[in-house]
Amino acid sequence: MEQVTFKEFYDFLLEGKLLGLKCLDCGAYTCPPKAVCDNCGSRNLERAELSGRGRIATFTTTYIAPAGYDKEVPYTVAMVELEEGPWIVGRLEIENADEIGQDLIGEEVEIGGKEYPTEMFYPDKKRRVVPVFRLLRTF
């Protein structure tokens, strides 16, 4: 049984690598990693580096921030469906998401990581690594 800690996951992400788990029983990928296969519940897992590419499934631009995030608004949060199947939450690097609207859904992106200061209640007390999505074509 293989494990990937959240620290490893975000360390790799800062280097541009997306780490996950591949199930040796059903073949499904789990990302971000967790204790069992997200598809079948098996613990027969191995580490896998994912392609780091996917498509935008949905997004929103946030104008009212929670305490600790106020210096970052407005920012666009997106959910991306990875090539291997899992969905992850991150920030879309774009300034005019609301002008483009629903047409952004389905657009291809490449995933990286960006470091921000941590905040009072975030589980990592040293830093906050945010998954960042870069559009493969410009609008």
Binding site: F6, P32, D38, A57, T58, F59, T60, T61, T62, Y63, I64, A65, P66, A67, G68, Y69, D70, E72, Y75, V77, M79, E81, P86, W87, I88, V89, G90, R91, A97, D98, G101, Q102, I105, F121, Y122, P123, D124, R128, V129, V130, P131
Partner: protein, 398 residues
């Protein structure tokens, strides 16, 4: 093991809104004593306390509240416990209390909740609410609760091929409806306010998380609610108008990213509702009205579909066609819902029970559902993570 029938003796709710001068204990006490005063029992009859609260640590610097509350309201020394399941906190507490009475552990208990989010201010309140998303993988991007439902709205638009602007116009009708009913509910945060909104008012209000605007969102609220539950035999001895618990259901899910596109189908809600219908031996057609977790306009639409009232993708049409208004086939949120009445998170679930019980007793004079015999509640905790449904009626379970 066969379960005993369980009934509600009394219900209480504070005015929802801004309570800078009342603590979490005060708000619970006020609701409790309203419920107690109509229950025709003595304090010594209450054997246990079930308390729902979400973020007392962040808003009031207080945890471990259930024991303090029991002591402060005169229930010295009884077993007391706090339940935390985000917005479903007091609904989970209600279901646990119901199961304990149904299985004969107690004959009579009190369940309820209190919360002070308005008093905490927008920045702390938004951060506190966001503790209900995945603390690591969703919070890192700054995902908030309006954000979660904005993601769901765009996904709904895409999945069911309804253009976002057309969908938003239908979502606006949920806000108009629930504000209309909240404006006539004397216990609502927006009593006498926003009772005559227009679609443009909703669409043109301040954008919070695009496409959601201020009027797509429920407010931050301070408030408390309480319900006294007993075995049906006990209840029939002490009150003339017991309201029976016919069925309950609960289910859950992981973070939004684990649910993927299922988020717009709210699968845990489907499971919880089916569990409640099965226990009650009823179907969605038997329900006369529902108090639904409309934390955001799109949330009400998704909920009505997942609970089995409308097909997936048709909930937005139902509000546009008048089905969910007070004179429609299935009135939804006649008390104003979270949008019109307010959303003191830990108190919300048992305030829905309060409204259903009042409605079934014929005491909901300002917005009555005609000939209502069976009502249902729906409470969502987190980003579709915890779902609780409760069915109540004026007759014992068939």
């Amino acid at each position: 093991m066969d379960k005993r029938d369980v009934a509600v003796l009394g219900v209480g709710q504070t005015r929802f809104g801004y309570h800078p001068d009342k603590t979490l204990v005060d708000l619970f006490a006020e609701a409790f004593y309203e419920a107690f005063s109509e229950s025709n029992i003595e304090l010594k009859d209450i054997e246990a306390l079930y308390y729902g609260n979400f973020v007392g640590e962040m808003t009031d610097g207080s945890a471990n509240l259930s024991g303090f509350i029991a002591d402060e309201i005169g229930l010295k020394g009884i077993p007391a416990r706090r339940y935390e399941a985000a917005c479903a906190s007091s609904s989970v507490a209600f279901r646990e209390a119901y199961l304990a009475v149904a299985h004969g552990i107690y004959d009579c208990v009190v369940v309820g909740g209190s919360e002070r989010l308005y008093n905490a201010g927008t920045a702390i309140g938004t951060r506190a609410l966001a503790t209900a998303v995945d603390g690591l993988h969703e919070m890192t991007a700054g995902l908030t609760f309006p954000g979660v439902f904005a993601l769901a709205a765009r996904l709904y638009s895409k999945k069911y091929e309804v253009p976002m602007d057309k969908l938003h116009e239908k979502m606006a009708l949920v806000s108009i409806k629930n504000h209309k009913y909240g404006a006539i509910n004397p216990k609502a945060q927006f009593y006498n306010k926003f009772g005559d909104l227009k679609v443009e008012d909703v669409l043109n209000s301040k954008v919070i998380c695009s496409p959601l605007t201020l009027f797509d969102c429920c407010p931050m609220t301070d408030g408390g609610s309480a319900v006294i539950l007993a075995s049906a035999d006990f209840a029939e001895d002490v009150v003339d108008n017991p309201v029976y618990v016919l069925g309950t259901g609960q289910s859950g899910a992981g973070g939004l990213f684990r649910q993927r596109e299922d988020m717009v189908r709210a699968i845990p809600r489907k499971k919880a509702a089916e569990m409640a219908f099965k226990e009650a031996n009823l179907t969605p057609k038997d329900i006369d009205f529902v108090e639904i977790h409309d934390c955001f306009t799109i949330a009400e639409i998704i909920a009505t579909e997942a609970m089995g009232f409308f097909e997936y993708g048709k909930g937005a049409d139902a509000v546009a066609e008048g089905v969910t208004w007070i004179d429609g086939e299935l009135p939804v949120n006649p008390d104003g819902g979270l949008i019109g009445k307010g959303h003191p998170v830990g108190a919300t679930g048992t305030s829905q029970i309060y409204s259903v019980v009042k409605q079934l007793r014929g005491e909901f004079s300002y917005n009555p559902v005609k000939n209502a015999e069976i009502g249902m509640t729906d409470t969502l905790g987190g980003d579709f993570g915890t779902l609780v449904n409760v069915i109540l009626g004026i007759h014992r379970r068939r």
